[in-house]
Symmetry: C2
Subunit: 454 residues, 2 copies
């Protein structure tokens, strides 16, 4: 029995899947941050190229992947779909476990699926430089990698605590030609105003977004690039789920339950939306779709479904989503990529509609799952990814009790080669299982913008 | 045109290739370290299982890969053969550049190809624990990974300076269940005698080998495991070259020139020997086969072809090889895996016979090549591997001048995710181009054992 299901290079899907075409009711529109009125293309064109704005609002079911993007994808795509035979054996489960392995990309995660596309569209629009933010560095290194193929400059605002504690990702960005700046910086007004209040600020993703957006908005030929949350990011990431669907067809299987970790939502959505489309259009009504998040930042399980800003300085358009409040600073869990107060509006709507369910996990149980994986399947997972692995293992053990031969599928979004300090902390028993910070969230939600009932 | 040539899982070769069967004259035998007489199986059985000793001495052309080993190989094998189209384009060369990419294995290098086999044969022989040494940690983590599949304990003596400066590989070994000890340690007589002379010793590969060999020789049910140099290690690594040959057949190509980096010689040999077999048996007499090494440790280009010990404490059998002397401590280049005084006797013999040529490179030109690769092909290479990339780029540029459409192939042995500090030093202009340390080598060669003209 094969453990890896491969596709040929000519089988990389040449269209992305846009789930907006299949939603029962349309998404609520973004709101202009100044007027709080629905934002149109003109509100976004200061920082995004028109092709991406069109994709953000498109209702077309399929959107063509440009040849130039496919050409870069071919460096690592199609990625393998694995059958986790050795994990199944260790669990003694009758369930079949499959995972889509995105760790084979040069930056080591799913992030370049959209970074390459964003670099391409910005280059086409005559842009010379992209500005972005990064937390632990996954997104920043993916954008640095991608801009190097399209001769674009790249400036990355990296959350200062990560900049200082995780030097490897920073060096990787430099190796791919990007300029990496610790945030808050004194380069932007947003950064300076934070530093005036707190010169020792270690930064946050919300602050870094504010800096990158300001950089893009105030410089000619510079645009802003975002690694998750937005509809077009989710769109580009569906390349993973579309490939996985073809791979399941090859072996005549279809998953019963689908799992992914959720920070901003793009890896989860990209891995599962082509299947979720079958659910919401009635072809596969019984699919169980599970979004996995940290207890320390439980946006989908504990957040409020309402309009909120994407950043701390209230510069981004407002999005209708589950949110813990744009002021919320999550406890310092090691899965840095999941420390975001909001989530993709598409994922949030599907959770709200009951098509996707969400579950939250503690750090130690997540690392325990990751450690079982590295001893059975060999690969060392990113702590973010390990959140959905924990859910898969729980379900596989439940199937062992019930005797169900369910087909479980999860999106294995990347390796943990730069997260070994977290594994060390886990083995030393130093990981804190942060409880849901209810009081902090309450304070943060009190600062939500008043959108007059929208 | 496809950039990746894949094989199916059922196309993993089920036999390794033993080049001893095709040598014009047989290898000189190893010598017993005490008597300096030719060593037989009995001299080795205190630290190796009989199946591996048989493979070490076998003259059979093909040796079956056990099913249990193939089962673990399937986690990442067959590995892709890449056509480096984007590198070719950047070089504007008419040469075709192919590389075999071993960075997809869980430990990130070619090392598990033999580590899995060694773990298997030792388990079959009733062994409970393996002891080994590691420099920067590639080999130690590969053996830790491999022993986890066969329920063996694993003790790794890691050169102290790496143990302290490169904590990530150490944590990775622990994650896979191994015990990692800084060498010199006070656990072994070999370690204690070094520490008595120099309590601040930062260790060396030669010392760490002495400790691991002593550990194995003095404990029941414990064997020693070596990650390179020996004939059976080279044998296991030929899985790479055999796959590559099938992949070239699929696209109806055959390389004109073959490149690999050489530390102990196993990745080079494993990648090229199935082709070299065609050269020495007359099928492809014109093949250009190039072994690439560092100027700071130029074993093949500057060493003496004679019998020497593999370790500092003179505990291992003597091997006939190019050597810089077992006392030689190379300058601290970042390609830690190439800092070894000797080389595989098989590789050395073929260099001596003129079937393989060797070239030495400086650090900065090697990192310059690696940096060009990450900006074109995307992948960040290990500094060791980058040595042969430098040779390939030089040849591709020569082909540009001459207009030759040569087919170049190199063994891309692993990623550099744990070597980013070296890249940082390169970008900061802090890398030293160590000259050949002629005086040190002269002193070291003066301490060669007197084998009476053998």
């Amino acid at each position: 029995m094969d453990e890896k299901i491969f596709l040929g290079e000519d089988e990389i899907p040449d269209k992305w899947y846009n789930i907006q075409a299949d939603l029962k009711t349309p998404l609520d529109p973004p709101l202009n941050p100044a007027t709080l009125e629905p934002a149109g293309p003109d509100d976004l064109k200061a920082i995004f190229p028109m092709e991406l704005i069109k994709q953000e609002m498109s209702q077309e079911r399929y959107i063509k992947v440009p040849d130039e993007v496919l050409d870069v994808y071919r460096l690592w795509r199609p990625t393998p779909l694995y059958r986790a035979l050795k994990l199944e054996k260790a669990l003694k489960t009758p369930a079949k476990i499959y995972y889509k392995w995105e760790g084979v990309s040069p930056p080591g995660s799913h992030k370049p699926n959209t970074a390459v596309a964003q670099a391409y569209y910005n280059k086409q629009a005559g842009i010379d430089r992209l500005a972005t933010e990064t937390g632990a560095g996954q997104w920043g290194s993916a954008l640095a990698f991608s801009t190097s193929f399209f001769d674009l400059e790249c400036t990355v605002y990296m959350v200062k605590i990560s900049y200082e504690q995780k030097p490897y990702r920073k060096i990787l960005m430099k190796e791919w030609g990007a300029d990496c700046i610790a945030s808050p910086s004194n380069i932007t007004q947003a950064g300076r105003s934070i530093l005036e209040k707190d010169p020792e600020s270690t930064g946050s993703l919300g602050i870094a977004i504010s800096e990158a957006v300001e950089d893009a908005a105030t410089h000619d030929n510079t645009n802003y690039s975002l690694g998750s949350v937005l509809n077009y990011v989710v769109l580009h990431q569906t390349i993973m789920g579309l490939e996985a669907k073809k791979q399941f067809e090859l072996i005549d299987e279809y998953p019963d339950a689908l799992y992914g970790c959720v920070g901003g939502g793009s890896n989860f959505a990209g891995g599962v939306f082509p299947f979720v489309g079958d659910k919401i259009t009635g072809k596969k009504p019984d699919l169980d779709v599970v979004a996995c998040e940290p207890m320390a930042c439980p946006t989908l399980t504990k957040g409020l479904y309402t309009y909120d800003f994407g950043d701390t300085a209230r510069m981004t358009p407002l999005l209708k989503m589950y949110t813990l409040g744009h002021d919320f600073v999550p406890p310092p869990i090691h899965a840095g990529g999941l420390r975001y107060h909001g989530d993709s509006p598409l994922v949030c709507k599907l959770v709200k509609d009951g098509d996707i369910r969400a579950q939250a996990y503690y750090q130690n149980e997540v690392f325990e799952a990751a450690s079982m994986f590295s001893k059975t399947e060999g690969f060392l997972l990113a702590p973010e990814t390990a959140h959905c692995l924990k859910a898969v293992i729980d379900e596989a053990l439940r199937c062992k009790e019930s005797g169900e031969e369910k087909v479980l599928y999860f999106l294995n979004s990347g390796h943990g080669h730069f997260d070994l300090a977290s594994y060390d902390a886990y083995h030393q028993g130093k990981l804190v299982d942060y409880e849901y910070p209810a009081e902090l969230v309450k304070q943060s939600l009190a600062n939500l913008p008043d959108t007059g009932g929208k």
